[in-house]
């Protein structure tokens, strides 16, 4: 059974939510913190609701609506989300008040909206969707688990379309705290410099990307989700190479069939060695595109990578700013996406044109 990608939607530090296509130009940024470019939410959400919603909820709802619009699906049969951090803003608000007010005189709104399933629940509520509803919260496997659950359910044959997505927001608190773990660049850096910096650390990002997956082609279907796998704490680069080999073999895809290799290079010298290794071995000679200089690093950033891969297959062109090395082939048929987060969470996604 084929799993088709019927629609996609993305809110990110680029203008991806403006027209749901690959933006012609990069929205430049400077420094270690990228902020999402937010669309006018009024086109999808009631103004009264917008005021109460935190950014992660709004971004998630917007990405969901964009993907459903493109798919021509009003109400999916299921909603499955992935989020590593959940609703950080509401969590921070409730936690701060609880501490500052010594557990007295608290109000429920922030607590209610702090649960990790808030986005999936809100989408269900807005769509009146009574179907299967799940939320995965496993660090940099959150998105991949949501995808896998969707694929397994679709293969059971009872459901026809599933809204699957991932969303994570960066807040002042989370950026401050994550910075103290020494994972971001110290000096000023731009999208043009990041991947060539060859120093420690990356830049922080955020965003939401949603996909309508189905067992049939939709009116705007341009790609299939052909394969997905995750690898937790591989022993070394040899293990990831073996895993990629096995993954390709399992999906009857030879190296020569891959038109484009997208990977999660984020400018952190030691982390990028993994990508370098794959670029020079299994994917030697393949054109390489990257995405974290566009969306920043966050645990569910692979969802941005998959969104970009889908758009590339749909539009049959790779934005100049996304190309890292090699020449773009005339026809783009299969894209392999390899992402790793903090060298512990590795994932592979295979997309095919259709």
């Amino acid at each position: 059974m084929y799993i088709y990608i019927q629609g996609t939607g993305c809110v990110s530090p680029q203008e991806t939510a403006a027209g749901n296509a690959l933006p012609a130009a990069v929205l430049p940024w400077e420094g270690p913190r990228l902020k999402a470019w937010e669309p006018d939410y009024k086109q999808w959400i009631d103004v009264k609701l917008i005021r109460r919603m935190s950014r992660v909820i709004k971004m998630g709802v917007a990405a969901a609506k964009l993907s459903l619009q493109e798919a021509g699906v009003e109400k999916p049969d299921a909603i499955i989300t992935g989020t590593a951090y959940g609703c950080l803003d509401d969590t921070g608000v409730f936690l701060s008040k609880m501490i500052n007010q010594q557990e007295e005189m608290l109000t429920p709104t922030a607590f209610i909206q702090s649960t990790h399933n808030t986005v999936a629940g809100q989408i269900a509520l807005m769509l009146g969707c009574h179907g299967y509803n799940n939320t995965f919260v496993h660090k940099a496997f959150s998105f991949e688990s949501a995808l896998l659950d969707s694929m397994m359910i679709l293969r059971e044959g009872r459901l026809r379309s599933i809204l699957t997505g991932a969303m994570d927001e960066l807040t002042n608190h989370s950026f401050n705290i994550l910075s103290r773990f020494d994972i971001y660049k110290k000096g000023p850096v731009t999208h043009e410099q990041l991947l060539k910096s060859d120093t420690h650390g990356t830049v922080a990002g955020e965003g939401a990307a949603c996909f309508v997956l189905g067992t049939e082609r939709g009116p705007n279907t341009k790609a299939r989700l052909s394969g997905l796998t995750t690898l937790y704490k591989p022993g070394g680069k040899a293990e990831i190479s073996a895993d990629i080999d096995a993954f390709m073999a399992a999906h009857n895809c030879s190296q020569s069939e891959v038109s484009l290799f997208i990977n999660g290079r984020n400018g952190d010298a030691s982390g990028d060695e993994w990508y370098e290794h794959v670029e020079n071995t299994i994917m030697a000679g393949k054109p390489v595109a990257t995405f974290k200089h566009l969306c920043g690093e966050y645990p569910t950033a692979a969802s941005f990578g998959m969104w970009m891969g889908c758009r590339i297959l749909a539009e049959q062109q790779v934005p100049v700013a996304a190309m890292f090395k090699g020449e773009v082939p005339e026809k783009l048929e299969k894209i392999l996406i390899y992402n790793q987060y903090k060298q512990t969470h590795h994932s592979l996604i295979l997309l095919s044109v259709c």
Binding site: E103, H116, H130, N133, F181
Partner: protein, 404 residues
């Protein structure tokens, strides 16, 4: 894809016992675990009873060999997951392709709270080792790493239905032959964050909770962890004769109420759909269910919705029902896992658990919960309900060992 998923064992730690036999004793003796807070430090200490695990972090660390300074949520998880694994007799875990699917609602929040108190004074302050495991997934990884599990690990968070969904995802992994065995369930430690959150919703009972009682006014929070071990047909066939599977996970379903972010719809639409679809998957009718382990939190709204949905689905004959939360308190992300262990064990042993603190039948319902510990029953099919915030409703059906 039509393969069975078997329950090869289970483990639980909660406020009425540090393992399954201790919990069963508490049910037998009719001893609910509500008490004043001993380990959680909150200004509401004398206002709201809770159902704490009767062990300090140091004690839990001693039992598990894990560091004392990590989140209590991970310590509880390890105790129950290890008991679950040991109960199967499968031996060396490294011989199998193992999945660990663990749910929780607030990750390492118990430690984040301490960090935040210092951090809010000065953003350069606070020990980073108190926030390093803040993410829900970090809790799962601490336990997976300690147990040597790496084939497939994931974490689910759908509020109070979290760990029921972990069982469903785990069952799919087995049916898709991605792993041979999955330890599935959930964990949650008491935190000030959740205690105060539920307090703002005004659904905490200052006395012992009274699920499905007409005079109920709210829930008591509890803590703990519960896991079942799911195995494939192939592995079930290899189990030693003395350790046959407890039962099958024959049906499961997840539906959304799509009514309100926290409240349940008056007719329990999501609850009804979850129960109905789980029965369909099991291939059985409502009157085949021999016992329902209720979600039964004890809040006015939750019990009314669940009761209405049961009345609609099961009329005119109602199976015995009870809420074990009247003993364990509401353990949130762990509740579905803990209650899955109780439910699977009830099929194996023919036990129906009592509902504590029950006096007066709800006016609107044609049935009342069981109030005594009953043994020697022939239970073919037992249903376990878990419903939560965000409209998330899940039902599981555990069935006797014969193939359907």
């Amino acid at each position: 894809m039509n393969s069975n998923v078997w329950i090869a064992g289970g483990g639980v730690i909660c406020g009425i016992g540090n393992n399954l036999p201790e919990c069963l004793e508490a049910f037998k003796r009719m001893e609910p675990g509500m008490a004043h807070m001993e380990y959680l430090h909150s200004v509401h200490r004398h206002t709201f009873p809770v159902v704490e695990v009767k062990a300090s972090n140091a004690t839990l660390a001693g039992w598990t060999g894990m560091p004392e300074h990590i989140s209590r949520t991970a310590l509880l998880s390890r105790v129950a997951a290890q008991e679950a694994w040991n109960s199967t007799g499968l031996g060396d875990i490294s011989q199998y392709r193992v999945g660990f699917i663990s749910a929780n609602t607030v990750g390492g929040m118990d430690k984040t709270e301490d960090f935040f108190a210092d951090y809010l004074q000065d953003t350069s302050k606070g020990h980073l080792n108190q926030v390093v495991h803040h993410e829900c997934g970090a809790i799962t990884e601490l336990v997976a790493d300690a147990m040597g599990i790496r084939h497939h690990i994931s974490t689910i968070s759908t509020a109070c239905s979290s760990s029921a969904n972990a069982l469903m995802y785990g069952a799919r992994l087995i049916k898709n032959n991605m792993v041979d065995v999955v330890i599935a369930g959930g964990t949650d430690a008491l935190t000030r964050f959740t205690l105060n959150g539920f307090n703002t919703l005004m659904i905490l009972d200052p006395a012992a909770s009274r699920p499905f009682d007409d005079t109920r006014t709210g829930l008591n929070l509890g803590e703990g962890a519960g896991y079942v071990v799911l195995v494939s047909d192939a592995l079930a066939a290899e189990l030693p004769a003395t350790r046959q599977p407890w039962c099958r996970l024959s049906g499961y379903a997840n539906a959304n109420d799509a009514y309100h972010q926290t409240a349940s719809s008056p007719d329990g639409t999501g609850n009804f759909l979850a129960m109905q679809e789980a029965l369909e998957m099991s291939g059985i009718k409502p009157d085949d269910i021999d016992y329902i382990n209720l979600h039964g939190t004890g809040t006015l709204n939750n019990d009314a919705a669940e009761g209405a949905a049961i009345a609609r689905l099961f009329a005119p004959e109602y199976p015995p029902v009870s809420s074990t939360k009247s003993f364990t308190g509401h353990t949130l992300g762990a509740s579905g896992g803990i209650e899955a262990v109780f439910s699977a064990w009830s099929v194996k042993e023919g036990i129906i658990y009592p509902n504590a603190n029950f006096n007066k039948q709800m006016k609107e319902l044609p049935f009342a919960p069981v109030t005594k510990f009953i043994t020697g029953q022939e239970l073919k099919h037992v249903m376990s309900n878990s419903f939560g915030f965000g409209g998330n409703c899940s039902s599981l059906v555990f069935s006797k060992n014969e193939q359907s």
